[in-house]
Amino acid sequence: MTLNLRTKKIYPTGYFIKYLYKMLTLWTRIVQASFIFLATESIGVLLDPCGHISPESPVVQLGSNFTAVCVLKEKCMDNFDVNADNIFWKTNHATVPKEQYTIINRTASSVSFTDISSLNTQLTCNIYAFGQIEQNVYGITIISGLPPEKPKNLGCIVNEEKNMMCQWDPGRKTYLETNYTLKSEWATEKFADCKAKRDTPNSCTLDYSPVYFVNIEVWVEAENALGKITSDHINFDPIDKVKPNPPHNLSVRNSEELSSILKLAWINPSIKTFIGLKYNIQYRTKDASTWSQIPPEDTSSTRSSFTVQDLKPFTEYVFRIRCMKNDGKGFWSDWSEEASGITYEAKPSKEPSFWYKIEPSHTHGYRPVKLIWKTLPPFEANGKILDYEVTLTRWKSHFQNYRVNDTKLTVNLTNDRYIATLTARNLVGRSDASVLTIPACDFQAAHPVTNLKAFPKDNKLWVEWTASNESVNKYILEWCVLSDKSPCIPDWQQEDGTIHLTYLRGNLMESKCYLITVTPVYDDGPGSPESIRAYLKQAAPSKGPTVRTKKVGKNEAVLEWDQLPVDVQNGFIRNYTILYKTALGNETAVNVNSSHTEYTLSSLTSDTLYMVRMAAYTDEGGMYGPDFTFTTPKFAQGEIEAIVVPVCLGFLLTTLLGVLFCFNKRDLIKKHIWPNVPDPSKSHIAQWSPHTPPRHNFNSKDQMYSDGNFTDVSVVEIEVNDKKPLPEDLKSTDLFKKEKSSTEGHSSGIGGSSCMSSSRPSISSSDENESGQNTSSTVQYSTVVHSGYRHQVPSVQVFSRSESTQPLLDSEERPEDLQLVDNVDSGDGILPRQQYFKQNCSQPETSQDISHFERPKHVSSVSEEGFVRLKQQQISDHISQSYGSGQMKMFQEISTADDFGPGTEGEVERFETVGMETAIDEGMPKSYLPQTVRQGGYVPQ
């Protein structure tokens, strides 16, 4: 402490010197020398403490108050010009508030602390030298702690011939160095103290064995800086606290006379020479883990041997022994070393389990029978089994004896009934005989057990059944592991006829399926066996089922899977769980009964990929199989057919109806789209009159347009000789006239030059009235087409006027001509014609193409009759020319079409023929018609 304080004292002085040296650089050398002198003087003074603190080494109790006083020395006070007012206190380098200071006098200052809680506190007394330099004067360490508590529960144990150890409860922690001293004395003398070790303040061991039969008084004294306290005194005779040495040399010996006893012998500890002992003797069989104990009242006195009775023959037992003072005072010794011995043999206490199997290979008149039996367990064999004796009895007088060391015997028996007996022999004697009836071949087993159940319990597989009404000698339980990979190798056991509940005494494995068969054995032979499956302990399947699709529909899928192999089931499959989901959807779980091997997922979305996985669950858990995906089709099976077939049928029906309709209405259709064209060759002038009103009603413009080509053609039937007025024709004429006037004379007059030659409008317009009057001898059979195409005003006014005087033929009046035309119609294609005429109908202005009328102009020099024909040809030619070669092209295209090609082509040829025939029928050189066809693709109307 002093050195430490000196260091602290010098350290600030060094600072001070440095400070002075700094000052010396500024001040004069004289001042420098003066300070060096003063500093040297100060150091010499400070080596001697300026004061001291009282108390020097305080130890205070936690929570108590403490006061320390710092007293300055007069010399120091003079050197540093300080007094008690300049004292300040620090604890652990923290300044103590001045409120805790008390100035006692000029040289002494005290500081007070209340409720000391810190275990170690550094307290220093300091001053400010020269009013500003902090200077440590003195320092102390305050140690805090607690006084020892009174030791409690003092007790001692005397280890025989070794030592005496006493223990106690030292009480609370003192935080101080506390000495615990075990004191002991006799009535007449005191023994040396036993000081407890620092790490074991609750015990102390005397290194000598105390003298017995002399009372010793023992107590514990606990002492530290804050106090000393003594425990209660205990006074005892060490013999009453003794823990004897354990008996040693324990030996075990059996008796040939009695197989149920073992004789123990041991050497007692030496203390038994002057005290009585009692014992604990424990024993167990070699393989057991728990001990049995000889009744204490049988071992309550000093002894060195004991005979243990009621033991099992030929069984190894392990023994141990301990002792203590027989009056119960003191402590039990440790257990002796274990010793073992085997009881002597006795004859087997029970007959072996006995059963048989008939081998499958039969020879004529004989059957190989395999007799099997179980080795007796040690507790029934009561010794080493030397051999087994088997006796087979066919009739009452016929014996066969076998002595076997093995546990099986195969014999060839006849088909008769046999009685087999089995005995086991050891060194002492034979067991009772186990009797088994081997029935004749024609024996019919019956009377099986009922209500067969198997269940695991306490890690055993229990089997329970209900006996039949017959008297049962015994039951044979057989079991084997069911596996797809290995055959069923049965194990078996025998139970008495009174047993209805037992467990399988084999090395059963968990997660294996056992097929258990219970066969009752009656006097006349075995009964019908009953079987059941069971698990010792189930587990989750090793593998999950592999699911696949059996059928996938638009909104459903039929999943199927195989039953799990028994090797991977690990338990009874209770149910399956199918989990399926789409790529983005939630997973849906479906539980399926374990008896099913397929399941239909419904309400699926079409054209969607589904992921399916399937788990099989036992009572202990489940296992998922591999994932599986499938995609639902966009259409259901037959859905396409269901749509396409009706549509096709409907289309076909519609087509058929249309065809029928067209066929039924062919006249009407023909009338509208392919009207009869009067055959000029059939016309006769006698019936033609320019004033004859048209046969068709042209009163209405609609009617006119509805007639198609007839809007372009006006047939005027003029009866030259008939004076009878024809109002209709006249009206038609008037109409034309009106039209003519309304169209500023675009219509031509009757008679005069041909329309081609009289295409000049001036001619037509100037001669309009005159022509109507001057052409009484001529025939007007042409109509002026004067409208433009699609409301276009034709650039050239077209007039079509026939200058022929040949009367028109009255073909329509003659049915045969009509028929001829009809034939032509029927031979022509409908669509082309319809299109042709429709276009012509919708484009009446096509007549504006003047070139259409130039051809008749070239033939204007022919006869009157030819001129009349020319009129028709003009019409036809006009139509033909309006399409020109394009029409032919269209025909060619049509002719190459699948539906209409051949017919159309044939019809074209037929047209030619008809044309020719027509010409021939007329009996006139009417070669213009075929020519027209060939030249312009004209189709005769």
Binding site: T188, E189, V214, N215, F274
Partner: protein, 201 residues
């Protein structure tokens, strides 16, 4: 010489016996003050009897152990180890309990001192015979306890604070054989006396 021998024995007792054990007690009047560190137990006489039994039970073993150290002792036990110990305190078995306790105290004190000499000699003569050493030590400890009990009884009950005792011959100056012979004779005497004491109490 006797005075000198007694002085030496006393010195040996001081050196080898613990403080207070076996120290001669002055025979004081019955009314004299005699105090112990704490009261004696009520079964003190039983403890004394048990201590005598304990000593008696181990005396033969101790004697055998001593004679087993080698010839000629095993084959001449009767000649060499006869209980011919002079000055051995007498015991009056027909006396009162106080007289018997006083006699007992004198005998145990004598035996204790002699046993101390034997132990010292044997540790020097047979330093490796731990069995003999432990038996000698155990017997000496038991005698200490017996003296404490007898003293407690005499003091508390009979207020006897002092008993004049005598000690056996000093063997330190004798040769090895004489040491062994005297030791063997003393153990033989001890075996004989302790049996009589057991009977007396």
């Amino acid at each position: 010489m006797k005075v000198l021998a007694a002085g030496i024995l006393s010195l040996l007792l001081v050196l080898h016996w613990k403080h207070g054990a076996g120290s001669p007690l002055p025979i004081t009047p019955d009314n004299a003050t005699c105090t112990t560190r704490h009261p004696c137990p009520s079964n003190l006489m039983t403890q004394i009897r048990n201590q005598l039994l304990q000593l008696n039970s181990s005396a033969s073993a101790l004697f055998i152990a001593y004679t087993a150290q080698g010839e000629p002792f095993p084959s001449n036990v009767d000649k060499l180890c006869g209980p011919n110990v002079t000055d051995f305190p007498t015991f009056h078995a027909d006396g009162t309990e106080k007289d018997k306790l006083v006699d007992l105290y004198r005998i145990i004190a004598y035996l204790g001192a002699s046993l101390g000499n034997i132990t010292r000699d044997q540790k020097a003569l047979n330093p490796k015979d731990q069995n003999l050493h432990s038996k000698l030590s155990s017997t000496a400890d038991t005698m200490r306890g017996l003296l404490s009990n007898v003293l407690c009884r005499l003091c508390n009950k009979y207020h006897v604070s002092h008993v004049d005792v005598s000690y056996g011959p000093d063997t330190s100056g004798k040769d090895v054989f004489q040491k062994k012979k005297l030791g063997c004779q003393l153990l033989g005497k001890y075996k004989q006396v302790i049996a009589e004491l057991v009977q007396a109490f």
